[in-house]
């Protein structure tokens, strides 16, 4: 395999490792019910689908190594946000979910010494989205 291919494999690996940690965190620490993971839809992908109380939460997980230019939470821009909302709408309609739902961001930062930091940003759309 070429050098580039190895690098890609490494970042994908890191991503799925982060998603595992995130799912553990949400179900064990927060007590949420994880419904699905890595849902592939026509209009995008949802990392984790969970239920928090009466609300459906779609979680986007971002994992990064410390020292990259941007912190993980800053990598979700307006384009990605739009994509997440579209994917969320598709999921909610496809599964006939009638209640409220929201999109959360879970940011994981890995330190050089193997330490990791996890930050949870609830409801990242903040009502900016208009139907």
């Amino acid at each position: 395999m070429s050098k580039e291919g190895e690098a890609m494999a490494r970042h994908l690996e890191l991503g799925s490792w982060g998603e595992d940690r995130a799912a553990e965190f949400l179900s064990l620490k927060k007590g949420w019910k994880i419904i699905e993971r890595n849902v592939r839809l026509k209009r995008g992908e949802i990392d984790i689908v969970a239920i928090n109380g009466k609300e459906l939460v779609l979680v986007e997980v971002r994992t990064r190594t410390l020292g990259k230019i941007l912190p993980p939470e800053a990598t979700v821009g307006p384009q990605k946000m739009k994509k997440l909302i579209r994917a969320g709408e598709e999921y909610v309609i496809g599964n006939s979910w009638k209640g409220p739902w929201r999109i959360d961001l879970l940011a994981i930062t890995l330190g050089k010494d193997g330490s990791r930091e996890m930050e949870h940003f609830p409801d990242i759309t903040h009502g900016e989205y208009r139907p």
């Binding site: 009466k54 609300e55 209640g99 409220p100 739902w101 929201r102 009502g127 208009r130 139907p131």
Partner: protein, 500 residues
């Protein structure tokens, strides 16, 4: 029907706004309908943050309707009812009866004061529903009699009260304050100017408009400011009117019976004086309601501004119409204008010589609008005292403002008793019809006035003004009927020679 009510201001009146909330599933969003302005639209951020700070998360798609739908809503004063409506819909409380809420929310749930608390209190009283206001607004609300009002410091406290778990401070009525006036300057401090002081006393007694004409340094401005010190205190009813205006504009609360005194600079725009603007605010003439509107350097005012004062000065109210609607503001003011006799200012001065040509003087005096001058009851020439006179008067004390005010109050009382059944308070307010009917002069006085009126070429309005001023002079004296001396003094304050 929604039990959550808010208000929006239309002129100086409060209109009830019903707040309806609907929450459906979906990604979080809040939309507000019912012609909200930018401040109302931004309420969604404040309301959501405030509710979240209390542990009430707002979820799903929220629609807020502000009824009636066709009345524009403005200001942050709807934050509180929106928050209560939302909290009720989300199940964190259940209202049992209708109530009005008024306040702006801080992000941490504190409730801030807003303008319009007094109109809201009057509305709540008439509707017989409780009113919840911010602590900052309590003072002004406490002056409204018969309203069930509660002071709210923060949203948590209010929610607890509505759930029946906590207590709120009930606003108790405070008695209106007294006249806390320090005559500044006092009439006793003004040297000489006996005639001008007398004219201002008459003006204060009958609420007559005054024009002070004099050279620079003759004391016009000082006299006008001293007028405030001899005005009678506001009555209960007038105090409510003044408070209503102050609350609508958001001026700081003041519990006193002092009459307003608004000094307007000649660069002020017509909208700032008459009221208007995109969101329709009252102007200076409304802020001076029941008090004095002072226009210094009257000839420097823009013509359109002066002309626009005509009707409000005469009618005591001003109708401001814009594309966003039309409102009526009160404008019962005592107009005091001051100006120089000519461009250089020295015409008629004992010491300086006037350097103006006849043409210049004519042009200068033409700047003053005839119709407005016709609405002025008292023309007062304020001569400059010569240094010798000033020194000669040193140490002599004139009459104190306090004792003049006592006379003024008595004269006011006589007028009030006389005109009460028609709904007027002072001689200057009388409409033409009532003057013809009620201010009947005795035979000889009538003949006297008729003779002079034709010599002076008085207009119909000019004539009634003379009669009103004569009535005030008689009232000051305590005379039951207007006699020739009263009329001749009133005629002396008519415009003579100034505009020749």
């Amino acid at each position: 029907m929604s039990l959550v009510g808010g208000i929006t201001l239309k002129g100086i009146k409060a209109l009830k706004v019903e707040v309806e909330v609907e929450v459906t599933g979906g990604l979080f969003s809040i939309s507000i309908v019912g012609l909200p302005d930018a401040a109302v639209k931004e309420a969604r951020e404040r309301v959501r943050a405030a509710l979240r700070s209390l542990g009430v998360p707002v979820r799903g798609r929220v629609a807020i309707n502000l009824a009636p739908a066709d009345v524009p809503k403005e200001g942050a004063l709807l934050d509180l009812p929106i928050a209560i409506g939302l909290a009720e819909k989300l199940g964190s409380l259940a209202l049992r009866k209708e109530a009005l809420f008024l306040g702006e929310l801080a992000l941490d749930g504190r409730v801030r004061g807003v303008r319009g608390a007094v109109p809201a209190a009057l509305l709540a009283r008439d509707m017989e529903v409780p009113l919840f206001v911010a602590s900052e607004n309590v003072q002004e609300v406490s002056l409204v009699d018969g309203v069930e009002a509660y002071a709210v410091r923060d949203l948590q406290e209010l929610l607890a009260f509505l759930r029946g778990e906590g207590d709120l401070e009930r606003v108790s009525r405070t008695a209106p304050g007294e006249l806390v006036l320090k005559a500044d300057p006092d009439f006793a401090d003004i040297k000489g100017q006996g005639a001008a002081k007398r004219a201002l006393e008459i003006a204060a007694a009958g609420h007559h408009n005054v024009l002070l004409i004099g050279s620079p340094g003759s004391g016009k401005t000082m006299l006008a400011r001293a007028l405030q010190g001899v005005l009678p205190p506001l009555s209960d009813e007038e105090l409510t009117e003044v408070m209503l205006v102050r609350s609508t504009v958001g001026l700081p609360f003041e519990n006193s019976r002092n009459r307003p005194f608004r000094s307007v600079h000649h660069t002020t725009s017509a909208v700032a004086v008459c009221g208007g603007g995109t969101s329709l605010r009252p102007g200076e003439i409304t802020l001076a309601h029941r008090g004095v509107l002072f226009l210094d350097e009257f000839t420097e005012f823009r013509r359109d501004l002066v002309e626009s004062l005509r009707q409000p000065v005469e009618d005591g109210k001003i109708v401001v119409s814009r594309s966003t609607g039309s409102v009526t503001y009160p404008s019962r003011v005592l107009l005091v204008a001051a100006c120089n006799p000519c461009p250089c200012g020295w015409k008629g001065d004992p010491l300086e010589t006037c350097r103006c040509s006849q043409g210049e003087i004519e042009r200068y005096q033409k700047k003053m609008s005839g119709p407005i001058l016709d609405r002025i009851d008292l023309y007062v020439t304020v001569p400059r005292l010569s240094p010798r006179e000033l020194v000669g008067l040193e140490g002599q004390q004139g009459e104190k403002s306090d004792s003049i005010r006592k006379r003024v109050c008595e004269a006011r009382k006589v007028q009030q008793d006389r005109w009460q059944s028609w709904g007027y308070r002072c001689n200057a307010e009388l409409p033409e019809k009532l003057i013809r009917k009620e201010l009947v002069l005795a035979g000889e006085v009538r003949t006297f006035l008729q003779g002079i009126a034709s010599t002076l070429k008085l207009s119909g309005r000019g004539l009634s003004r003379v009669m009103k001023v004569a009535r005030t002079i008689a009232d000051l004296e305590g005379a039951a009927h207007v006699a020739i001396p009263h009329v001749s003094e009133a005629l002396a304050y008519r415009e003579t020679g100034f505009l020749s």
